[in-house]
Assembly symmetry: C2
Homo-oligomer: 290 residues x 2
């Protein structure tokens, strides 16, 4: 909120008009979230334009209508639904990113692939290495991967802009990760925490017989190929179950955990137990190199 | 914002669910604005219910969809449009108010009378004294006055909920008053600052030949009957012109000053000068007892 007030103070000093002078946010997801939040509140809303410069902002935070800030250890505890006047997407910005931030964005692309788009999953398997090394500057796969990821995301968001339906496919990887991300900040980027959550969720799906070992293996192998983490020492069964309790409040009293049932489809579950999480954590530890 | 964070902290501690546990704000306009603002931001919006307990909240802050907080010397600098689940209006609460707070609310009722409802103006002339002495507990006029004031307000707000049209009749009395109120806080209540603005605006209308001396006299006499202030030592022409510059930013670059053209109607003006304000300030000083 301190940074929001810095923006507010700059707008006061500038003497910005209420409707005819849009502000422009240029940066990553955190910056766009804060600028969007400030714009949505200043005089009950002034127009703004978003220009995402990171991969994760390009495919996730920069599209859609949500803004928000963290409060204490609570991720996005305060926020608004506030559409920008326009969002300008240009992958040329990605040239300046390091590999960690490319992988960070790939986590959200992988999420969309797992929950709605098996073709996108296949594209990541084929071109993941090139996408990372070229920083999405290659013409072979980058345009198509970005197009599919963004359009898959918009197709999920558009009919449910105000989250009236809390069974959201795009919440895959966002069940345990908010608590993990806030606890591990700044070590883990958002997409990295999401990746660890996706590994846990994929294992939950496998243990429930929703996906077979081949699909589980493809998911975990692709995560490694995309240079994403699969586990974190904080993720004990106890920690994950605690994280789930906070997510339940955000999902209005039910778990609504999206688990993959194939590549490109999920179903929602409300009966995840701490014992089940303990099994998954145990399995995950065995899969990892020591 | 500190108080907003107190509400947020209480909601965190309670572990409130996102959709099925509405919070209830009970109090005056400032409290309802702050609780509404917190509710609109918490997890991007949780349901809330408003119960206004002051006259001004009953006819003004408590109806409509706006929430907000002051920032520094800027009134309602941050806010949202966020409808409550319900607003419960009960004039029994007004029994506990002192006369100053009754008059404070009467200022906003008078505003609605001047801009849209000559009958309401007449009712205030006839029953103003009884309304104050009974604290709106009399059956002769209180129910009708509240009904007309509230419905006149809703009729103005409803077609323009998000203030797409910045020529708002209900902004009468709100051109110079935001700066005055913030400068004179806590001496002047909101309705008192609005009253002073209405006296200035009525004099502007008289000097422009929009209303005759009889109507000006009825307006100023009714304000005195309702025990409202007509002037304040801060209100020099220079101060008022400065206040107008900030209001122009809020009205997207134009003055859009509503001035009465009869009892029950206003027109908007964009050409108020500092010289004109000097004349009005001078006239107002002559009208007041020294």
């Amino acid at each position: 909120m301190d940074v929001v007030f810095q923006v507010v103070s700059a707008l006061n000093t500038f003497g910005i008009s209420r409707r005819c002078e849009p502000i422009i946010g240029i940066g990553g997801g955190v910056l766009l979230d804060i600028v969007g939040f400030a714009a949505s509140l200043y005089r009950r809303g002034i127009p703004y334009i978003r220009i995402p410069t990171t991969l994760i902002a390009l495919v996730d935070a920069g599209i859609g209508v949500k803004t928000g800030i963290n409060v204490g250890k609570h991720k996005n505890r305060l926020g608004t639904y506030y559409p920008p006047l326009a969002t300008l997407l240009d992958r040329a910005f990605l040239r300046s990113l390091d590999t960690k931030h490319i992988s960070n964005g790939l986590a959200e692309i992988l999420k969309m692939a797992i929950v709605t788009d098996a073709t996108l999953f296949w594209l990541l398997e084929q071109y993941g290495t090139i996408l990372i090394s070229s920083k999405f500057q290659d013409e072979s796969a980058a345009p198509l991967v970005l197009y599919r990821a963004i359009h898959a995301m918009l197709a999920e968001l558009q009919p449910n802009l105000w989250e009236q339906d809390l069974n959201r496919k795009v919440d895959f990887g966002h069940t345990f990760s908010p608590a993990l991300e806030m606890q591990a900040v700044p070590e883990l980027l958002h997409g990295e925490a999401v990746a660890i959550d996706m590994a846990i969720s994929a294992l939950l799906a496998y243990h429930r017989g929703l996906i077979d070992i081949q699909i589980l293996d493809r998911i975990l192998c692709l995560m490694k190929k995309l240079q994403l983490p699969l586990a974190h020492s904080l993720c004990t069964a106890e920690f994950l179950y605690e994280a789930l309790q906070d997510t339940i409040l955000h999902r209005d009293g039910s778990q609504r955990v999206p688990l993959p049932v194939s590549l490109g489809d999920v179903r929602f579950f409300n009966d995840i137990t701490e014992e089940e999480l303990a099994t998954v954590v145990h399995t995950l530890q065995q899969l990892l190199p020591s």
